[in-house]
């Protein structure tokens, strides 16, 4: 065709300016914002927390390396999946289970769908839901906070396919205490995070700080966490006012995995709605489901299932909340 008179010239499609952000950059920023959360986890649960998070990340990264497209590790999304999964596990989880969970999350939550951007369910939560279903006892055995930094919190090095021989002191989560034994927990310990739970879900304030950082840099959409937290607060507040035996709003907000879920899980761009209206719908849906499962369900905690369920609805929400096109008077859904 055109004889190129200046071979140095590149011809790209318009617009020709380089945008400020790139997908890997967003992903690695999320990873960076998780560093304080991991540090807090290490503070509360010692080296066990680091080992569990590292194991889950290893599983995710290995699976991405095995099944992903060439070089897809560099975009950082597999690392996020692994880290987030690790943060939702108890500190005493045998490492082989964590590795398996990470690999499952990437393999069946992402790679089989076609890799980054193609999946419908949050891969970290797919991995966790698998672990929850596969090893229900191990994943609900919560070691107590404290002890020496290098004290292992459980039978971390149980051999693959064997179940852990638990020797560590365990405690129930605040939600479990409330649901099964009718005991309330002190709000201060909930906010600070020195309580039973998954390694990364206890330090609510650190998680919130990470969320604010990401929201300010436009790496997460603030509507999602805000709508989830507001819905949970409002709904549980109303329920508490009607029936004081039901947990109150601050307890609901700072117990369990709500903060981690609202800030890091529900905001996964790939698996949340693409429209702003849809994001409100999604967040409110997650909030309602969390309260419903926690208050009326059989399980003490429901953040994971609430988000997975809403993930399944995202294609619907996206269809139903198409923006009104400029110059048209009605919402047009094709």
């Amino acid at each position: 065709m055109n004889e190129s008179s200046a071979p140095r010239l590149v011809v790209t499609a318009s617009p020709h300016l380089k945008p400020g952000d790139s997908t890997p950059r967003i992903m690695w920023n999320v990873v960076g914002s998780l560093v304080p959360v991991i540090a807090a986890a290490a503070w509360f649960f010692g080296v066990s927390a680091l080992l569990v998070v590292a194991a889950a990340t290893l599983g995710a990264v290995l699976a991405e390396r095995a099944f992903g497209h060439g070089g897809s590790l560099a975009d950082g999304s597999a690392a996020i999946t692994g880290l987030l999964l690790g943060l939702t596990l108890p500190a005493g989880m045998p490492l082989w289970m964590a590795v398996l969970g990470g690999a499952f999350g990437i393999g069946f939550g992402k790679a089989v769908w076609g890799g980054l951007g193609q999946n419908v369910f949050n891969p970290a939560l797919v991995g966790r839901a698998f672990l929850q279903a596969a090893f229900p006892v191990a994943i609900t055995t919560w070691p107590t906070v404290g002890g020496g930094f290098f004290t292992l919190k459980g039978d971390l090095f149980a051999l693959p396919f064997l179940h852990p021989v638990t020797s560590a002191v365990t405690s129930a989560t605040p939600l479990g205490l409330l649901k099964f034994e009718g005991k309330a927990s002190a709000l201060a310990s909930l906010v600070i995070g020195n309580r039973g739970g998954s390694v990364g879900e206890t330090a609510a304030l650190v998680i919130l700080a990470g969320g604010v950082y990401l929201a300010l840099r436009n790496y997460l959409n603030w509507r999602l966490p805000v709508s989830i937290i507001a819905t949970v607060a409002l709904l549980s507040g109303v329920l508490h006012a009607i029936d004081p035996h039901k947990p109150d709003a601050p307890f609901m907000l700072f117990s369990g995995g709500l903060m981690l879920g609202a800030v890091y899980m529900a905001t996964d761009m790939v698996t949340s709605p693409v429209t702003n209206l849809g994001r409100w719908v999604f967040g409110i849906g997650v909030g309602i489901l969390v309260v419903v499962i926690r208050v009326w369900g059989g399980l003490p905690e429901g953040v994971m299932y609430a988000i997975l369920f809403m993930n399944a609805l995202v294609p619907f929400i996206n269809r139903a909340t198409q923006p009104r096109v400029f110059g048209t008077s009605m919402r047009t859904t094709a």
Binding site: V112, A133, F161
Partner: protein, 231 residues
């Protein structure tokens, strides 16, 4: 039923030789009739028929095996009767008649199982009577048994049943070994084995078949690639 647009539903091979009955499958050996159901037209892995029992009862091998045998019994029995009476069943009432024949054999299977293996019968619950609604049965009656001599209908029923049973056994073995650490109730790995409860639950059922299909597709893909290389 055959009208369900199941992806990958294998249509009957085009008949080249003049058939005796219009629309009848081409002549084949009894061995080919049996083998087709196990391999190329495997009801579960290739045609995706009879999914409900495939998932619902394959949590342990004993259940899968029992379901497979019961289904084979109904397939052979209904194939036999449909083929036997194919000249007498008027076209207008053929579906009703087939359903009647199938339902009869299902009832027989249900009662026989309850009389002989009450535990398995209890575990399978309504899934034995639900064989009636298995698309595989009406599909075979309509597409095959009604058009061929008795010995071929029986061979086909047996082949389809065997393919169904083998698939169920494959899935239930995976699920029982991982989900309970045992096979047919016999402990395999000793007391420290951590069972994957997931495999015993509904998502595990879907996933096991998914993994089986992914593996099958992968093998096919490799074979295709190798064929390309050698060609």
């Amino acid at each position: 039923m055959t009208a369900v647009p199941v992806p990958g539903l294998v249509s009957a091979p085009p008949s080249s030789a003049p058939a005796l009955v219009p629309g009848a499958p081409p002549p084949a050996t009894v061995f080919a009739d049996v083998w087709r159901g196990i391999g190329r037209e495997n009801p579960v892995l290739v045609q995706f028929l009879g999914m409900c029992p495939t998932m619902a009862v394959t949590n342990v091998l004993a259940n899968g095996l029992a379901m497979g045998i019961a289904t084979t019994f109904v397939l052979v029995g209904s194939g036999l009767f449909v083929s036997l009476f194919r000249k007498y069943i008027a076209n207008e009432v053929r579906i009703t008649s087939y359903i009647l024949i199938i339902a009869t054999f299902v009832t027989l299977a249900d009662m026989l199982l309850a009389a002989t293996f009450p535990d398995i019968s209890k575990a399978l619950g309504p899934f034995i009577p639900l064989i009636v609604a298995n698309c595989l049965l009406l599909g075979r009656a309509e597409a095959f048994a009604a058009k061929v001599p008795v010995y071929r209908a029986v061979a086909d029923g047996f082949g389809m049943g065997a393919g169904f049973t083998l698939s169920l056994c494959l899935l239930s073995t995976i699920r029982e070994v991982l989900g309970k650490g045992s096979i047919l109730g016999h402990d395999l790995f000793g007391p420290r084995f951590e069972p994957w409860v997931f495999m015993m639950m509904p998502p595990g059922g879907f996933l096991t078949l998914g993994i089986a299909l992914l593996g099958l597709a992968w093998v096919m893909e490799l074979r295709k690639r190798r064929a390309l290389v050698t060609a």
